[in-house]
Symmetry: C2
């Protein structure tokens, strides 16, 4: 469906439910979802969505992923309070990746950093170059 | 290794080769790689890298992916001329995603559009809302 319609003009529409049937869900029923801060263009994190998480996100306007480690829906911020409000959900040309333009409250990363990409390749090393905004112990007080 | 060092201070380093040993390559030996235009913050595309592609990217400064459809290295732009110059390569907190800050020449998408995320969810529909910069027939003249 995505391939067949890639040359359509601006404004062309597909029924969402039918398009979701044609997403290229992987063997586990998941697609990667990239969260980007809508106004600054920071890439905050990458996580996974199953169909239920994607539909929950569109319905509620709050981003919901699928946690591969916990094996269930992960409503971003439900433990930490650091929610992602959905501004815009986009799908790519071959229907196998989701881009979420979001408004992130505070840190997106479980380490308390604004985003998850804090390791930078520099010659023969990886350099950690971002500091936490919040102590992770304060993000997840139940885990103390 | 990534988990063990998530509370290190800014400036902490890991040996790159050892860190790559600890990336969470999937069952096919791949990690997702997000390409972002370094100055505008546009998310251009998401593709996959094996270790060879990642090392090739760092060595050459030109982004190289692994093509799952062709089953080999995919030096971005080798057919289309639309290369991605690497500005910065980053790895996320749990070592399973790569973020590439790049300088993209022209369109990143095989459809001739600047980026691949041209389907936007709007109520019960997906709306195509980006037009090609270049006719795809001119991007891949060998395919005519």
């Amino acid at each position: 469906m995505f391939k067949d319609n890639e040359q359509q003009p601006n404004g062309f529409t597909l029924p969402l439910a039918q398009a979701l049937d044609h997403l290229r869900w992987n063997a586990d029923g998941l697609v990667p979802a990239i969260a980007r801060q809508h106004d600054t263009g920071e890439v905050l994190m990458m996580a996974w969505m199953n169909r239920e998480a994607l539909e929950d996100t569109l319905r509620t306007g709050r981003v919901c992923y699928y946690s591969r480690s916990r094996g269930g829906l992960w409503r971003k911020g439900e433990s930490s309070g650091q929610t992602q409000t959905l501004i815009e959900l986009r799908i790519d040309c071959d229907g196998d990746t989701v881009l979420l333009n979001v408004d992130q409250t505070g840190p997106a990363c479980h380490t308390g950093r604004r985003d998850c990409f804090y390791w930078r390749a520099d010659g023969a090393q990886l350099v950690l170059d971002k500091a936490p905004l919040i102590d992770p112990a304060d993000l997840y007080p139940d885990k103390r």
